[in-house]
């Protein structure tokens, strides 16, 4: 390809890059607006950020009829699989902006940069979802990481927040290094950085399996860090605890889902071959399916067991979100469309209930001024609306019907069982973990519903209507998707069809 063709391709690609361009434009607009507005914490920046996200949402919806196409000389791809994730990122970003508007942690602080960084983070997530080249994969991960470091330390006067940022940065740098090393080995084995080409080359030749295994494990370090999967999870509890709560909510959903998008695409495209019967299997030499199964089992078990002893709600939710990454990984090990479909379905469900739980944390921070579970005593009598909503989210997280969480888990387990007796053991581990997880979710319920409140505390607390509306927009779909989930299932199904084809 000569330089003019490359330039032409890049220019043509711009028309498929509209949502990202909108976000980029929004970043610039936000910075300038913040400079022009004298008042540091003016509501205009948040409203502008919201507007930008909504416009980007519309632009993403418009891309749905494009099918699947590669852009920027095969650096990125626009396909329903990435669009599915982009919609998820936008919806969660909108919610996080809404949460930030009410958050008392952020009140009185300059928020112009905060919203700018959040849009930048969203842009990074977009790139992660559509990267198909090892270079873009690495750059997008770094993009997300660096913006995340700054957002985690946003409450810089609070010691825990600075600690969170530092830990995040050190772990991030470490895992990026490992991943880069893995990329270099893979490049050495195949001579290309494009994951589709890597897939065909690995299938055609028989590379040294030790080198390939090393590179896969090193790559997994990079993805695992984003997913907070064991053993790359150590940063999560400290960062979740220290970061501003809306940002924690975003971390637990956005980068995690983007990590899944990358992981699914990379493993299913670069490291899988299609058999003659149309079934996919891991390439010869590296049984990454079993490797991921072990990671999944370890992730959910460790997350759940450590969550039991947590006293701080944000730390508890951090370990719970580690465990949920383990559940969602169960779908990826299967190499079947059914499995991937279950995973991406689960991510949306997880977004609903997890953002919901963090919203409650913010509401209770507002009402009782504490993140300690002990201080949630008697909240069912004092503030029934958020307490009942919390009950719905917790039952959903525990996977009880009739909530969306059950359906999500049901799909994951169904995919595992469908895969045949080979992964029955993982299903059993998952089931046992569901029971364990109920214990600590129920502990929060016990504090809210069963324990007596202190006499000196006020008997009832007023919840602002703003929060009630936000809660309703999360509680209703959490229950609705537990009863009738066909639309979401169809969307997820449609997205998976395009995963391997290009």
């Amino acid at each position: 390809m000569n330089p003019s063709e490359i330039i032409q391709n890049n220019i043509n690609s711009l028309s498929y890059f509209v949502p990202e361009l909108i976000l980029t434009g929004m970043i610039v607009v936000l910075i300038i607006t913040d400079l022009l507005l004298k008042k540091e914490n003016s509501p205009w920046t948040s409203l502008l950020a919201l507007g930008g996200l909504v416009i980007a949402f519309v632009a993403v919806m418009n891309q749905y009829d494009l099918g699947s196409r590669s852009i920027f000389n095969d650096m990125l791809v626009v396909d329903p699989f990435s669009l599915y994730f982009k919609l998820l990122f936008l919806v969660s970003a909108v919610f996080v902006v809404l949460l930030s508007i009410g958050s008392i942690e952020l009140s009185g602080r300059p928020v112009g940069e905060y919203f700018t960084l959040m849009i930048a983070l969203t842009l990074g997530l977009f790139l992660m979802a559509s990267a198909t080249n090892l270079i873009t994969i690495f750059i997008s991960i770094e993009f997300v990481s660096v913006t995340s470091f700054i957002l985690a330390t946003y409450l810089k006067t609070r010691r825990r927040s600075s600690e969170a940022g530092l830990k995040y940065a050190i772990y991030g740098a470490f895992s990026s290094g490992l991943m880069l090393y893995g990329i270099s080995i893979l490049y050495g084995l195949t001579g290309t950085l494009d994951i589709y080409e890597i897939g065909t080359k690995l299938a055609a030749s028989t590379p040294n399996s030790l080198a390939l295994l090393t590179s896969v494990i090193l790559m997994l370090a990079g993805f695992g860090y984003k997913l907070a999967a064991v053993p790359f999870h150590f940063w999560a509890p400290d960062v979740y605890e220290g970061a501003p709560t809306p940002i924690t909510a975003f971390f637990s959903v956005g980068p995690k889902a983007a990590g899944f998008a990358l992981l699914i695409r990379f493993f299913n495209v670069a490291l899988a071959t299609e058999g003659t019967n149309g079934e996919w299997s891991a390439i010869a030499g590296v049984n990454w399916s079993q490797l991921l199964a072990v990671v999944a089992a370890a992730t959910m078990t460790l997350g759940n067991l450590v969550a039991i002893v947590q006293k701080n709600i944000k730390r508890l939710l951090a370990y719970s979100s580690i465990a949920h990454a383990g559940y969602a990984l169960m779908g990826v090990v299967l190499l079947s469309d059914q499995g991937v479909y279950a995973t991406i379905f689960y991510l949306v469900v997880y977004y609903l209930m997890n953002i919901g739980a963090f919203l409650i944390v913010i509401v209770f921070q507002d009402l009782v001024g504490s993140e300690s579970i002990d201080d949630y005593k008697g909240l069912i009598w004092r503030a029934p609306v958020p307490a009942i909503a919390m009950g719905v989210f917790l039952f959903s997280l525990a996977g009880m019907p009739p909530t969306a969480g059950f359906i999500g888990k049901f799909y994951l387990f169904a995919a595992l069982i469908k895969g045949g007796p080979g992964f029955y053991w993982l299903a059993v581990v998952g089931f046992i973990n569901s029971v364990i997880s109920l214990y600590y979710y129920a502990r929060i319920l016990k504090a809210m519903c069963f324990d007596k409140q202190d006499e000196k505390e006020p008997a009832s607390l007023a919840v602002s209507p703003y929060y009630v509306v936000l809660l309703a927009t999360l509680v209703v779909p959490t229950i609705l998707l537990g009863v009738y989930w066909v639309p979401l299932a169809d969307l997820a199904n449609y997205s998976v069809e395009f995963l391997r084809a290009l």
């Binding site: 009880m400 019907p401 007796p421 299903a427 089931f431 046992i432 029971v435 069963f450 009738y484 169809d490």
Partner: protein, 522 residues
């Protein structure tokens, strides 16, 4: 009335919605709404009873709609003789329990909303014929139960051994045990789903009737070992609910800490879910595994352990409510024993026992609640001579005790005799020795009930209780119907037996004649 099963299942949910609209202060209106919705449910149950055709074993009042087409999940309801008896029991006990809960004063709205939600869950379990739907209802029962025991049960306290006990502890224990059972069931359900072919569409199916048809089984279901594992998973799931030794330890806690009406529902209906699940799911779906001799004898032996061990535990109790709780364990053992012989007599006896234990134990728990409301404790040894002060109460209690120990002329006599004779006369398995041992349980039961009666009602009157009032009108209103049913079915059990026998005889036939070829396929 084409949708009578949907109506009877979701009627309480209408009650919930109405109750949520009532302002908090208006407690009486909330109670009346709950009573009306369960009352209408009783009327529907009566209608079902009248229109039920007991000459056929096929499912009646069917409703079948597509729900989630991609997974072939249907909204499929229908009842046969086995389920109709449980539907009647559930409607009857729920209505009575609303009145037993009249005195609840804390969080009235939440209490009755939870109670009616529980009602919907129970009805749904007995009516659904789609395994997925069944599972949803099965789990929906757990949530309200957790809150009913935790919030309205006894408050948390520290026992002499330093352990924190009380409602919250019992609630989470109940929840974890039963959830563990449910996830085992979910696992087995998924394996069944992916290895059963829908004869109409060719896809997989949750339709219970299709899963029961062995000719639809394929894939790993042709592997006898896998079938045994599946049966074991389902059996443990249901055994936790019964509860069978050694999965029974949640029961004394839950029963003792729960408020009276919730104990009634727990013992009266929820324990039956376990045996109902076995008869509706495990037996017909995996009949060859049920007939595997280790499982068949294992089930009978567990039944006997329940009978004897439960009776001994009951005898050792000083807390009246705990005594009744252990007597439930003992009586549910009889159900298991009756089922395990695979005879028509034993099977009918077992289901009759399920019904009769439901009414009998309900009465016992209500009576325990009566004395607890008055004396604020349940320590048997602290009472004495109460028959003088509370003659009607003593009479009611003696009726309930005699029903519990299987006195001829009262309902459980028939069902116990049927169960024991059925097990004894089994042609497939030699359960004679096991049955003879279990008869000892009857003697033990008579022992602890009579001994308790003596300690509470005869002898010197404890002067502390010389002013206790006898049963009031509301309490009589809850107890008299139960008493009538107990006496009536004791003298004339035909209405119940006729209702269930066609379906159960069919079930016995199906399991007995199920394809024995699979035995060789290890």
């Amino acid at each position: 009335m084409n949708n009578v099963l949907t109506l009877i299942t979701f009627l309480p949910m209408v009650g919930v919605l109405l109750i949520l609209l009532v302002p908090n202060g208006n407690k009486t209106l909330i109670r009346i709404l709950a009573a009306v919705s369960t009352g209408l449910q009783v009327l529907l149950a009566v209608w079902i009873y009248i229109n039920f055709d007991s000459d056929t074993s096929s499912m009646q009042f069917r409703e079948q709609y597509k729900w989630i087409p991609s997974f072939n999940i249907e909204y499929f309801m229908g009842i046969d003789g086995l389920s109709v008896s449980m539907v009647l029991l559930t409607a009857f006990l729920s209505f009575i329990c609303i009145f037993a809960s009249w005195g609840i004063n804390k969080g009235v709205k939440g209490y009755f909303a939870m109670f009616l939600l529980l009602d919907t869950g129970m009805m749904g379990v007995f009516c659904s014929l789609d395994f997925f739907l069944f599972y949803i209802f099965w789990e929906v029962m757990l949530l309200p139960m957790y809150f009913l025991i935790g919030i309205w049960g006894s408050p948390a306290r520290v026992d002499a051994d330093g352990m924190v006990r009380g409602g919250p502890y019992a609630a989470i224990k109940f929840f974890l045990y039963t959830l563990f059972g449910s996830v085992l069931m979910l696992l087995a359900m998924l394996v069944l789903y992916f290895n059963v072919t829908d004869p109409v569409t060719g896809g997989h199916t949750f339709n219970m009737l299709y899963i029961m048809d062995q000719s639809n089984h394929s894939g790993v279901l042709n592997n006898f070992d896998i079938r045994l594992w599946l049966y074991a998973a389902l059996f443990i799931g249901f055994a936790i609910k019964v509860p069978l030794f050694p999965f029974h330890t949640w029961l004394p806690d839950a029963h003792v800490e729960a408020p009276t009406a919730v104990s009634v529902i727990l013992a009266g209906v929820l324990l039956k879910m376990g045996t109902y699940g076995m008869l509706r799911i495990s037996f017909p779906m995996l009949p060859d595994a049920m007939k595997w001799e280790y499982f068949a004898y294992g089930m009978a032996i567990l039944g006997v352990i329940n009978i004897i061990y439960g009776a001994f535990c009951a005898m050792a109790q000083t807390d009246l409510k705990k005594l009744v709780a252990y007597s439930s364990i003992s009586h549910m053992g009889i159900v298991l024993l009756g089922m395990s012989g695979l005879t028509s007599l034993g099977m009918n006896g077992a289901v009759m026992q399920m019904f009769n234990h439901g009414t009998g134990t309900a009465m016992l728990f209500l009576l325990v609640g009566v004395i607890y409301d008055r004396a604020h404790h349940r320590n048997i040894d602290d009472f004495g001579g109460l028959a003088v002060r509370m003659p009607i109460y003593a009479a009611a209690m003696s009726l309930a005790f005699f029903a519990g120990l299987g006195l001829p002329g009262l309902s459980s006599f028939m069902s116990e005799v049927f169960s024991f004779l059925g097990a004894f006369g089994s042609e497939m398995f030699n359960l004679k020795a096991i049955t003879i041992i279990s008869i000892i349980g009857i003697v033990l039961t008579a022992g602890y009930f009579l001994w308790t009666f003596q300690r509470m009602f005869l002898g010197e009157l404890n002067p502390k209780y010389k002013d206790l009032p006898d049963l009031n009108g509301r309490e009589l209103f809850t107890l008299v119907p139960l008493g009538i049913v107990i006496i009536f079915l004791g003298i004339y059990p035909a209405p119940l037996l006729n209702l269930i026998k066609t379906s159960l005889n069919e079930l016995v036939e199906v399991v007995k004649t199920a394809n024995p070829i699979l035995w060789g396929l290890q």
